[in-house]
């Protein structure tokens, strides 16, 4: 019978996934947080290692101890030695957690310290991670896997490829997000691919290519009593060949017959049983679109991005339940939290359709390839819920916040449609729309794109409505047709565009016709049982609301939407903390967000969760139903901030700083005028509408200048221009400069420090603040910079000025709530470069370093609660926090891994140390920077930086490093008495060449400070940087960072890095 014994473990170690990067994002904050909650319920002590300081899981109220340390075998072993846990959870920290766990097991560390692996046993993890073992295991039970062979060198790869015939797929073992995988169509391609792949892995897999087959995923749960349930089935709109992280995904499966859907379900269960997984796993299948033939592609024996999606799509809390099962519970013993009545041993029935859409930010990168393939490039995703596919799809596209109005009513142009269909980019779905409009048949589009025709028919339905709608003026649109358009996901704005009216007019008309969306619950059982669920979405394919709207004292917090470059887990942390405080203050809370990778969309966080669009229309729909006291727009980043004024104008109470004042900070002209009246300095700038005036202005203030195009769809980025020529080049490339699309040019001040203040004000009075400094000079985006708190090298006078400016800005904008100002400082002169009247990316960092929750305080202040003054000594720290940025250049093939004025990092970590050097090195190690052992390749840029770096070079020499350098740098070094071996530039194509040395692993670290001169030299530099990234060789491209790095390694060694938990820093 059922065993009601309490779990035997007393202290469990949980491995987090570290910084957010492509392939491993916020989903692991969700899964880790759920796991900790599940363990806490059992009164088990939890120890968490995760340097991602902006996560909810690293909050002080979750794990008993938090270590902001690198998640790698050596640090984890040290924590184990210190903490002596009796159990470890490996399945909640993504591929990072799993790999580290395997390494610890293989090294015998877990055995030595008697740490038991909970849930899925190590053997099962090995069986799923090692391709050869995996194939063997699957074949043992007579199931089909792609014909494949594991090879250990390039020659064997070529031989096998030629045996089974091109094209073939190359995969790397132990890789997250399909890193290094690719399709080879011929010998040249396979040699190129496998060479690169062998630099990260000593085993790769060559397999039959299944491009064009349907791709499906099943999320399976198993307990130790062998009970299995398949929680969710998902179908990718994009066929095999496109990484599932790059695919538009629907749940449940849409185009499979029952026979196919349940056949794959049976196989899933046979697989999970045979592998012996306890907890959760994800199984990927390929299915022949012309028969029931299938292949088992892979199994992830851990929580994954897909399992986070499945949790949100079904309401089944996979991570929480997987954690309970790891403790030995059976599925029947765990409750279905949603219904509150039934057990976790069931399979959710959906009465809605879910569409997941990836978010890409490829335009942020120079030289990157925009083609989608077997490697993941997307940086985030959204999930839309609807009761028709068309509705969910259009919602999803708007949720991405990429400037698209939905599937249609966008201004995109494609020069070569057939290529767009055959070789997809991030815009493929829009290419399909265009093809339909140009008269391509569904058959042809299906043939080129391999997308199952059913999806294409649905897309055509939307296109047809668009065409038909254009024939009407708003007054003429028949009632039934207007309703149909809304049911197919058309926004008021889209209808306004098509009928040449305005969004408010459309809204007015449809409300008059009583076309309003219904609120529906996600209840896991399709209304079969009554559910207590607060998990909600809206649809026009419904006639009534599932809930009544009687609650009083409700406050809405608007979430941050899709993770993207510049807006990530930090804002989710702010939202969750704000909601938590509101609940403590006894408000009923409503969260609106649409990102399945977040904790804010866990339904136990708030009183009501609307998994919905963060658009004016939908937020207002919710407001009109719920009539809350007001909305907080300062927590979720720029999206809610941008909605503030328009919501305010239609009467929605915005809590905190008034929307008019937010507007002053957002509007460059108004804000500049304000600074002038306050006597605060700012870099000279001007908004210009022609090339000539732009040049005139640049010449007047002097180069370099920072050029900011107004946002147009070409996706042009900010840039620095050094000369008239560059400015002209840039403006030509960027976009048309016109009255409608002016360009903003500002003076770029070189050699200046950058400083930030994160603060909270109460009715214009500065309440608390944190000033932090950047390691890199101004010119590196604040989101990419290495940030130090408290500042170590900023003058007291500068700090004082920063504070005074913040005080004055707070007073004149009557700020109530969080805000952030960025400054540049040179010789005690301080200039303001940006101001946001909302929480910033660094709020979790400063809150956790100071141990003062800025968001909690800001929320209380926003709600008009009294907050006691903070003791000044609280800001007086005996330790230092350093935040470092995580880049994902490795995944973005061809991208130039260089720092600039556009943000490029995908995530961040922060570590604490007794001094800067310790915290800095820990944070570098946390972003998987490998410390160099012997050899460094130097190419130190223009003469000023060569001079500047020479002292550091001496230090490196003293530390015993040997150097390679390119000609110019080498000459300079030799002249300064430092021995160096010269390597040829890439384009010289002569040996010994920089590229060959990097590829052969002869170089431990590349320091490449870019120059801005000749094209050839730029290309040479680019090739070196790219090669370093492709071959996983650490790369530093910023002079200040390089200098601080040298200083740090000269003063601190690995063994000096202390294993101290967060609470031990006092």
């Amino acid at each position: 019978m059922i065993n009601h014994k309490k779990p035997k473990w007393k202290k469990i170690l949980l491995l987090g996934s570290g910084a957010i990067r492509i392939g491993q994002a916020g989903e692991f904050d969700y899964s880790g947080s759920q796991a900790i909650k599940a363990l806490k319920e059992e009164c088990i002590k939890t120890i968490l290692i995760n340097p991602n300081i902006a996560t909810i899981q690293t909050s002080d109220y979750l794990a008993d101890k938090v270590y902001f340390l690198p998640v790698n075998a050596s640090f984890v072993e040290k924590v184990i030695t210190k903490e002596r846990p009796d159990g470890i959870l490996l399945g909640f920290g993504g591929q990072t957690g799993l790999n580290v766990g395997l390494e610890l097991a293989e090294k015998g560390v877990l055995k030595k310290y008697k740490v038991e692996v909970l849930g899925t046993p190590i053997q099962a993890i090995q069986d799923t991670e090692d391709r050869e073992l995996f194939v063997k295991k699957i074949k043992e039970i007579g199931l089909k896997v792609p014909v494949s062979k594991a090879v250990k060198n390039v020659n064997d790869a070529v031989a096998f490829a030629e045996e089974i015939g091109y094209p073939v797929m190359c995969r790397i073992a132990y890789a997250l997000g399909g890193l290094g995988s690719g399709v080879a169509h011929n010998r040249k391609q396979i040699v190129e691919l496998t060479k690169k792949a062998f630099s990260y892995s000593n085993q790769i897999l060559i397999e039959e290519y299944l491009g064009g087959w349907k791709e499906l995923e099943y999320e399976v749960v198993r307990d130790q009593y062998d009970n299995c349930v398949v929680v969710c089935s998902m179908e990718n709109v994009d066929p095999m060949g496109i990484h599932t992280g790059e695919s538009i995904v629907t749940a449940p499966v849409q185009t499979l017959s029952a026979s196919e859907a349940f056949k794959l379900r049976s196989i899933s269960i046979r697989v999970i049983r045979h592998l012996g997984i306890v907890g959760e796993c994800n199984i990927q299948f390929a299915l022949d679109p012309q028969s029931e033939d299938y292949r088992v592609i892979e199994v992830n024996a851990r929580l994954s991005r897909s399992s986070a999606l499945a949790s949100k799509a079904t309401g089944y809390p996979l991570a929480f339940i997987a954690a309970k099962l790891s403790l030995g519970y059976s599925l029947t013993q765990v409750q279905n939290i949603i219904t509150g009545e039934t057990s976790a041993c069931f399979e959710p029935a959906l009465d809605y359709v879910v569409v997941k859409f990836p978010r890409w930010d490829l335009h942020k990168f120079k030289r990157v390839s925009v083609r989608l393939g077997s490697e993941m490039k997307s940086v985030g995703e959204v999930m839309a819920v609807g009761r028709s596919f068309e509705e969910a799809l259009q919602k999803a596209i708007r949720m991405l916040d990429c400037g698209m109005n939905g599937l249609v009513c966008n201004s995109l142009e494609f020069s070569d449609l057939e290529t767009e269909l055959r070789k997809p980019t991030d815009k493929r779905i829009f290419a399909i729309v265009e093809a339909l409009k140009k008269g391509y048949s569904i058959e042809d589009i299906a043939k080129f794109s391999k997308v199952t025709p059913w999806f294409l028919y649905k897309i055509r339905n939307i296109v047809e409505i668009e065409t038909k709608m254009k024939r009407y003026t708003l007054a003429e649109v028949p009632h039934a047709f207007l309703k149909e358009a809304k049911q197919k996901g058309f926004s008021d704005h889209q209808i306004a565009l098509l009928t040449k009216s305005s969004e408010p007019e459309v809204r007015k008309r449809r409300k008059k016709l009583k076309i309003i969306p219904s609120v529906k619950q996600i209840d896991t059982l399709a209304a079969e049982y009554p559910a207590q669920t607060n998990y909600l979405y809206m649809t026009y394919n419904g006639s009534t609301d599932d809930i009544d709207f009687k609650q009083k004292h409700q406050v809405v917090v608007l979430g941050g939407g899709a993770y993207r470059i510049g807006s990530s887990v930090e804002f989710d942390w702010c939202c969750v903390n704000s909601v938590t405080t509101l609940r403590k203050l006894k408000y009923q809370t409503i969260m609106i967000n649409c990102n399945p990778e977040t904790v804010s969309t866990d339904y136990d966080i708030c009183d009501k969760l609307y998994f919905e669009e963060l658009t004016f229309e939908r937020v207002l729909d919710i407001y009109e139903k719920e009539t809350p006291l007001g909305m907080i727009v300062s927590m979720g980043g720029q999206i809610p901030n941008n909605l503030a004024l328009s919501l305010h104008e239609v009467g929605v109470p915005i809590l905190g700083t008034s929307p008019q004042d937010i507007d002053i900070a957002e509007d460059r002209h108004k804000f500049s005028a304000l600074l002038d009246t306050l006597g605060v300095d700012q870099p000279a700038w001007k908004e210009l509408t022609s090339l000539e005036t732009a040049e005139d202005f640049a010449n007047k203030v002097g180069y370099p200048v920072l050029v900011r195009p107004s946002y147009v769809l070409s996706g042009a980025a900010m840039s620095i221009a050094l000369s008239n020529m560059e400015l002209r080049e840039y403006l030509k490339k960027a976009s048309e400069v016109s009255k409608k699309y002016p360009v903003v040019i500002s003076k770029f001040i070189t050699g200046a420090k950058e400083i930030e203040i994160d603060a909270v004000a109460d009715h214009g009075k500065l309440y608390c603040y944190a000033i932090s400094e950047h390691v890199e000079n101004a010119g590196v985006h604040s989101g990419d910079a290495t940030i130090v708190l408290p500042p170590q090298r900023t003058y007291i006078e500068t700090m004082r000025r920063v504070k005074i400016i913040a005080k004055n800005v707070a007073a004149s904008l009557k700020i109530t709530g969080p805000f952030n100002i960025q400054f540049i400082a040179k010789d005690n002169e301080v200039k303001v470069i940006e101001c946001n009247l909302r929480a910033s990316r660094s709020f979790p960092f400063v809150s956790k370093v100071f141990k003062i929750n800025f968001i909690d305080l800001a929320t209380k202040i926003i709600m008009g609660k009294r907050v006691p003054p903070i003791d000044r000594s609280a800001f007086d720290l005996d330790y230092v926090g350093v935040k470092a940025s995580q880049f994902s250049f490795m995944r973005l093939k061809g991208s130039d891994p260089i720092l600039g004025v556009e943000m490029a990092s995908t995530g961040e970590v922060a570590c604490l140390g007794d001094d800067f050097n310790e915290a800095f090195l820990k944070s570098l190690l946390s972003i998987e920077f490998k410390l160099p052992k012997k050899t460094i390749l130097l190419s130190t840029g223009p003469i000023e930086s060569k001079t500047d770096f020479i002292k550091s070079t001496w230090i490196l020499k003293t530390l015993g490093f040997t150097f390679y350098a390119t000609k110019g740098t080498a000459d300079f070094m030799v002249a300064n008495g430092i021995p160096v071996e010269v390597l040829h530039w890439p384009l010289e194509r002569k040996e010994p060449n920089t590229l060959t040395y990097i590829a052969k692993g002869k170089i431990d670290l590349v320091i490449n400070i870019p120059k801005n001169i000749e094209k050839e030299e730029l290309d040479n530099d680019y090739l070196i940087r790219r090669k370093a990234v492709d071959f996983n060789v650490p790369l530093i491209t910023n002079l200040q960072l390089a200098k601080r790095f040298v200083e740090s390694i000269s003063q601190v060694t690995l063994s000096d890095l202390k294993i101290k938990s967060w609470d031990e820093y006092k």
Binding site: I2, C228, E347, A349, F389, D546
Partner: protein, 353 residues
């Protein structure tokens, strides 16, 4: 787009658009929460006389397969024709795509004169049926006058059963299958295991047949209407020939064993019903379609409850203590649904050998 309405016995109306046939119809309105498998569900004779509401909103996506036969059974369906009286969905997919599809769902329903309505808030309708219990209803298009008819007052089993026995030849061992509205997959389950199947009409007197095992099939309606078969089963309970009752068959077995059955408020119709095997930690996910249940408290000393429902604790299976008599309230043959309990056929065939 022709409008159509569903009118329930409590007077509530659900309007939408017509697909399939435009003929009016009446029946008992029930809902199923399965997300896939409409060709199988619609041809399941247990739905005889019922208007089926599908809670999954997108229906028709993969069309309907053709009429290929295998072992003299329609390969892709559960019986010879559509059994439901009508179909209610949210979003009917006018276009379909699937390699095995021959026609659209709407065309198939037209061919068999079955009406459907789409653009109905099936979640709202389901909630109503859940709260008030299963209700009678009718589908009309203009203002046709038809009166509500309660199918449970008819002998539904007689309507869906066959007239005379049919033999499906395979191996030496022979199963007698009493067709109370049987799903084809039950026959397939035995043929697959190399048993020959003798399929007999529901009221056929099989008490003197020389067979290795007896299967009482699923079927529509109230088990208490099946007097003839209950009497036949009673006779067989004194013997030792293995008996397996599936769904209605399990209720008939219970009634023959002296236990009672009752009508559930809104039944179990889905592919995700958790069933606990009594006395173990095991739970199976099952496919179900029934409106009545066995009252386990009324089972005699010789019988034990075998499975219970993980959601509402109702009876999901019974077994005899000493003899090879088994009843499963769920569908071990799945189709459509999970095959977790297919082992029941193995267990039963083992009892026959």
């Amino acid at each position: 787009m022709q409008e159509a309405k569903l009118i329930l016995e409590d007077g509530s109306k659900f309007s939408g658009f017509s697909f399939g046939s435009h003929a009016p119809t009446t029946g008992e309105v029930v809902f199923n929460t399965g997300m896939v498998g409409y060709p199988e569900s619609l041809t399941d004779p247990s739905y005889r006389g019922q208007i089926l509401v599908l809670t999954y909103p997108l229906i028709g996506n993969y069309g309907v397969p053709g009429n290929e036969r295998e072992d003299n059974l329609l390969k892709f369906f559960e019986s010879e024709k559509i059994q439901v009286a009508g179909l209610i969905v949210t979003d009917y997919s006018h276009e379909y795509s699937h390699w095995n599809a021959k026609k659209s769902l709407s065309v198939w329903m037209q061919e068999q004169n079955i009406p459907g309505i789409y653009n109905v808030d099936t979640r709202e309708l389901t909630k109503k049926l859940r709260k008030k219990g299963t209700m009678l209803g009718k589908i009309i298009h203009d203002d046709e006058r038809i009166s509500l008819r309660d199918p449970n007052k008819q002998n539904l089993v007689a309507e869906v059963s066959i007239q005379k026995p049919i033999v499906y030849k395979k191996g030496k061992l022979k199963v007698l299958l009493v067709d109370c509205g049987m799903k084809n997959s039950i026959i397939r389950a035995f043929l697959k295991r190399d048993f020959s199947v003798v399929r007999v009409p529901w009221d056929y007197d099989f008490t003197t047949e020389d067979v290795d095992g007896i299967v009482l099939s699923n079927g529509p309606g109230d088990p208490k209407k099946c007097n003839e078969i209950i009497e036949h089963v009673k006779t067989m309970l004194s013997k030792n020939i293995p008996i397996l009752g599936i769904c209605l068959g399990s209720q008939i077995l219970a009634l023959a064993a002296g236990a009672n059955t009752y009508k559930l408020k809104y039944g179990h119709r889905s592919q995700n019903q958790p069933c606990m095997e009594c006395g173990t930690n095991r739970c199976y996910i099952t496919s179900q379609n029934h409106g009545y249940a066995v009252d386990a408290d009324t089972l005699s000393q010789d019988w034990r409850e075998w499975f219970t429902n993980g959601n509402d604790q109702t009876n999901e299976g019974i077994k005899h203590l000493s003899k090879p008599f088994f009843g499963a309230q769920f569908h071990p043959e799945a189709s459509p649904g999970p095959d977790d309990t297919e082992f029941l056929f193995d267990l039963f065939t083992r009892a026959m050998k």
